[in-house]
Amino acid sequence: MKLGNFKSMIFFGIILTIWAIITLLTDLIQPIFIPSPIDIFQSLWKMRNNLPMATLVSLSITLSGFGIGLVGGVALGLGIAYSKNFLETVGPFLDFTRPVPVLALIPLFLLWFGIGVSPQVLLVALGVSVILGVATYEAVRNMPLVYIRAASNLGADKKTIFRTVVIPYIFPHLIGAIRVGAAVSWGLDVAAEFMGAQIGLGYNMIVRQIYLDTAGIITIVIIYSILAITMDQIIRKIESKLTRWTERGKISFEKI
């Protein structure tokens, strides 16, 4: 997905131009619904003192939640795949708790943990770990038997097989889940901040909404988008470096 090709820039430009013309030169749409580009710049300037700190807070909550959820989810998935005992003990409980929508836990978290950063990080971590846990487990269960048999035949025990065969093999297969998890973590951050944060981008969005400051809301949405896109691009860069051994990227449906 290249952001900079000619066709897409023209398309983008046309949309921006239409937006600017309608909002600046006509009275067709009220600013409260769709503000003009100038309104957006103005609100960016108005919030210039708040935004850096708010961005930093939201970024740290999201990244720590994502990190914890990633590690926790993968560990859980591997643990269940590794030990039948673990699977049989913990599995049914997880089957029961996994489908609970993470957002439905917000009121519960408010009661349990009060207002603060930790419950927000926990919420993000929980949401991400469910995604990564399931993806990891499925990736292990679906891996080609021949690799496991070959490693076993060459003298590796179960732990060694997991470390030297399973984990390297499933890594490219987890990329999709990792990117989805990253995207989801931003959404969970917004929701988490709606539950009584005192600082952060999501919190600022609520304040802007109370003041009917649509331009402010859109500005913050744009900032969130830039953060999420950047994070995704970083993940993809890391992924391409670490998966040089796969045949990814060779598929082209153009010539079929």
Binding site: Y147, N153, L154, A156, T164, P168, W245
Partner: protein, 256 residues
């Protein structure tokens, strides 16, 4: 030829399906002599791969047992090294790391590992490819890595399950010649499963002819008298061709 390195007594294998017990084979009795190249041929579904899997230790028989040097086989061992039909070379490791794998997991010291890897890469003709990944190699080259990896562990018995089944005809010829030359220098015990009659005749000292269980034809073992070392032009020898025709007759009269 020396004594028997392996004895298979009354071996039978069956598994449960939705429609009841399905017997793959029964009453398999055979002895493998030390340092012989033993082939097993048969049509698809006759159970030859299952037989090899049991000898390797990936499956347990439902009847009878396999004895190596008088001891019943339980589980896998690097002494019974397997070369699989599918691509089993680990794609996330380089050629060097692949061949090194068995030695590394068995804690062989680095200097000795290096010696052995270089030695066996040389034997299979892949010197210079140490740093390559399997996706950069052709099918034939990957098979050679597979072979080097198995041989580097100095197994007592080499188990090969239609190893050349997935390469093209010309590469197959080449690999057969290379295999017999490599075998000449070490004379390891080999159990080689194939459906290719010419391949079995070219490579083997003795051939077991395994028929599908529903034919009720018992296992038949024939001697292959051609002198060693076997040369590539053996396949054009009239005696070779007539032996091949006899083998075909074993299967032709049976409706599949």
């Amino acid at each position: 030829m020396g004594n028997n390195i392996m004895e298979i007594k009354n071996l039978g294998f069956a598994y449960e399906t939705d429609h009841g017990k399905y017997e793959v084979f029964r009453n398999i009795n055979l002895n493998i002599k030390n340092n012989e190249f033993f082939c097993v041929i048969g049509p698809s579904g006759c159970g030859k791969t299952t037989l090899l899997n049991i000898i390797a230790g990936f499956e347990s028989p439902t009847e009878g047992a396999v004895y190596k040097d008088g001891v019943e086989i339980k589980g896998v061992s690097h002494e019974r090294a397997v070369v699989f039909q599918q691509d089993a070379v680990f794609p996330w490791l380089t050629v060097y790391q692949n061949v090194e794998y068995g030695l590394k997991v068995r804690n062989i010291p680095p200097k000795i590992r290096e010696e052995k890897v270089k030695q066996f890469l040389g034997i299979v003709g892949l010197a210079g490819f140490e740093k390559a990944y399997s996706r950069e190699l052709s099918g034939g080259m990957r098979k050679r890595v597979d072979l080097a990896r198995a041989l580097a562990n100095d197994p007592e018995i080499l188990l090969m399950d239609e190893p050349f089944g997935s390469v093209d005809a010309m590469t197959k010829e080449k690999l057969q010649i290379e295999l017999t030359e490599i075998w000449e220098s070490s004379k390891k015990t080999v159990i080689f499963v194939t459906h290719d009659l010419e391949e079995a005749l070219f490579l083997g000292d003795r051939i077991a002819i395994m028929q599908h269980i529903r034919t009720n034809i018992p296992l038949k073992i024939i001697d292959v008298q051609f002198k060693r070392p076997r040369k590539f032009y053996l396949k054009e020898d009239p005696e070779f061709q007539s032996l091949r025709r006899n083998l075909i007759e074993e299967f032709r009269l049976i409706e599949s």
